[in-house]
């Protein structure tokens, strides 16, 4: 378990992280989301003991970063932003070096395992600077998971990769994230949505949202927008809102001579779909399509981070 209490970090006059509080439970996969410069990397760097907080406190497994740094570092596997590597080393030498410092006794078999897991078989004895970006990222992963850490922290693990590599890396994250506490920072929503079961959105050093993917969506979705395609006379459509209370028609447009597209809105707490359907049935119109428009996390993210985090 990781607990952040009133965590604050100043760089000179700039406050990068501002009284951040949250807890991450064992086994959680946390997406740490925010625009560039929001304080994600700084927060992660403090958890990994790379930077010390200006004020506030971090506890990892009930150990305080102030006096148990070495023990905490042993628990954490960390892939820093931009994936720094000793590029003049071969993949094997690099992993061997990490294993030596981490004091992994059965390093030979462990390195072999990790190489297998990260798909590095073909490049084990190549210098890292000759590898493609996707492979370099895999080397970074191999480094982070070499000691089989309980906590895995990945700072923008897919930035700069092409779409195919992103899919591969995401698969790898899913695979590696089993049985681990995982923190993934990103400014890309789909990524976090695809992998994480909890999301924290941070903006200008402050947490602006915290919850599961569904919670965040529903919290910002108090109105449901329903989109219908019907074969019906266009001038009779308004009858829907006239007959069913608390619904309003946002727009009506004809798609062809017979089909009409209608957008209806109602309170999310008060589902009107059944009533709408029976009304259509009673009118003997043909329903071609009916779907809810999900407010995307994208919209949540934008509304939280662009208007200065006002809810």
């Amino acid at each position: 378990m990781i607990r952040l209490q009133n965590l604050t970090k100043d760089y000179g006059l700039i406050r990068a992280v501002d009284h951040v509080n949250f807890e991450i439970n064992e086994g959680e996969i946390l997406g740490f989301l925010g625009p560039n410069g929001a304080g994600k990397t700084t927060t992660l760097r403090m958890i990994t003991c790379f930077l010390s907080p200006t004020s506030g406190n971090i506890e990892v497994e009930n150990m305080n970063i102030k006096n148990k740094q070495l023990e905490i570092k042993k628990l954490i596997g960390y892939l820093p932003e931009h994936n720094p590597l000793y590029i003049d080393m071969t993949v094997y030498d690099y992993l061997k070096f990490i294993a030596d410092i981490r004091g992994i006794s059965n390093f030979a078999s462990r390195i072999k395992e990790v190489i297998e897991q990260c798909g590095l078989n073909g490049v084990v004895h190549k210098p890292i600077n000759t590898l493609s970006k996707g492979y370099k990222q895999r080397v970074g992963f191999a480094q982070a998971i070499l000691h089989d850490p309980k906590i895995l922290i990945l700072d923008e693990p897919t930035s700069g990769l092409d779409p195919n590599q992103i899919v591969e890396i995401r698969e790898l994250i899913k695979e590696l994230g089993k049985e681990k506490t995982l923190i993934i920072s990103s400014h890309i929503l789909q990524e976090v949505q695809a992998v994480c079961n909890r999301i924290i959105i941070i903006n200008e050093g402050k947490i602006v949202a915290d919850g599961s993917t569904e919670e965040l969506q529903s919290a910002f979705q108090n109105k449901t927008k329903l989109i219908l395609e019907l074969i019906a006379p266009e001038n009779e459509i308004v009858d829907i809102s006239n007959n069913i209370i608390e619904t309003s028609i946002l727009s009506i447009s004809s798609l062809s001579e017979t089909t009409v597209k209608v957008e209806i809105e109602f309170d999310s707490a008060n589902d009107k779909r059944a009533e709408i359907f029976s009304f259509i049935k009673s009118k003997e119109w043909t329903l071609l399509e009916m779907h809810r428009e999900n407010i995307s996390l994208e919209a949540v993210f934008r509304s939280l981070t662009i208007d200065g985090g006002e809810k």
């Binding site: 760097r45 990994t48 003991c49 790379f50 930077l51 070495l70 023990e71 570092k73 042993k74 954490i76 960390y78 820093p80 931009h82 720094p84 590597l85 000793y86 590029i87 003049d88 080393m89 030498d93 070096f97 990490i98 030596d100 410092i101 981490r102 004091g103 480094q143």
Partner: protein, 237 residues
């Protein structure tokens, strides 16, 4: 294995994986050989005095060059973030780098033993004690300069800046002796004690005094501690 030694091993590997170490060693050997051999028959003495007086000058150029990248490159490429988040103490990182630099200097000095062999073959009455002390002195001097180089490397992410800073610190310690005539009498003692050459010349005369050793060791400790403080601070970005 001690973690500092793991760092040392890595640094030595990276020295010898690139042509840099070979170039440095070859030029070091050529220059020291030239300065040693050219006045050898004029002096007509079977000792390594000329070698011992020229190597400190060569150090002034070579040691900043071999230490400049030790920490600044890690900062520049960001690998310091990997290193500093591994379960290793900052002291061990600094010591590992320090021993790597000292080892490379040791290799360089080992190669100059060819001059010693020349003396053995040509001369009689070779003063082994003085030569042994000379090498001890050179190792200490190399260690002091290494610690200065590592300090310079720790305060910047730019290798060239590190090179210039360490060059000037070493240069300052090197030239203090020339300022002795300008300082008031009561301060001469202090300035003389600060001068690295004063202590070094004692040693190559064949006298290893605890005062000289304390001077060298305290300089090493001072600069390594400063380097450690700067590494812990991480405000270099």
């Amino acid at each position: 294995m001690n973690l500092a030694l793991t760092i040392t091993k890595k640094e030595i590997k990276s020295y010898f994986n690139s042509p840099a170490a070979y170039i440095v060693l070859v030029i070091f050997l050529l220059l020291s050989g030239w300065f040693f051999a050219s006045p050898l028959f004029i002096n007509n003495q079977a000792n390594l005095r000329t070698l011992f007086s020229i190597i400190p000058l060569l150090y002034l150029f070579f040691i900043p060059a071999i230490t400049m990248g030790l920490l600044s490159r890690e900062k520049n490429t960001g690998t310091i973030e990997i290193l500093a988040t591994l379960p290793i103490k900052d002291t061990q990182i600094i010591m590992g780098k320090f021993w790597a630099s000292v080892s490379l200097i040791g290799v360089g000095l080992l190669l100059t033993l060819v001059h010693f062999i020349t003396i053995l073959l040509l001369g009689t009455n070779v003063d082994f004690g003085a030569i042994f002390c000379g090498y001890i002195g050179l190792m200490f001097l190399g260690a002091v300069y290494s610690s200065i180089g590592i300090f310079a490397s720790s305060i910047t992410s730019n290798q060239i800046v590190a090179l210039i800073i360490s060059f000037f610190i070493i240069f300052f310690l090197f030239v203090i002796k020339f300022f002795l005539m300008f300082v008031p009498d009561f301060m001469v003692g202090i300035f003389q004690f600060l001068s690295i050459d004063y202590h070094f010349s004692n040693i190559i005369r064949g006298v290893i005094d605890t005062r000289n050793i304390i001077y060298f060791v305290s300089l090493i400790v001072l600069f390594l501690k400063l380097a450690q403080a700067s590494l812990e601070n991480r405000n270099w970005k």
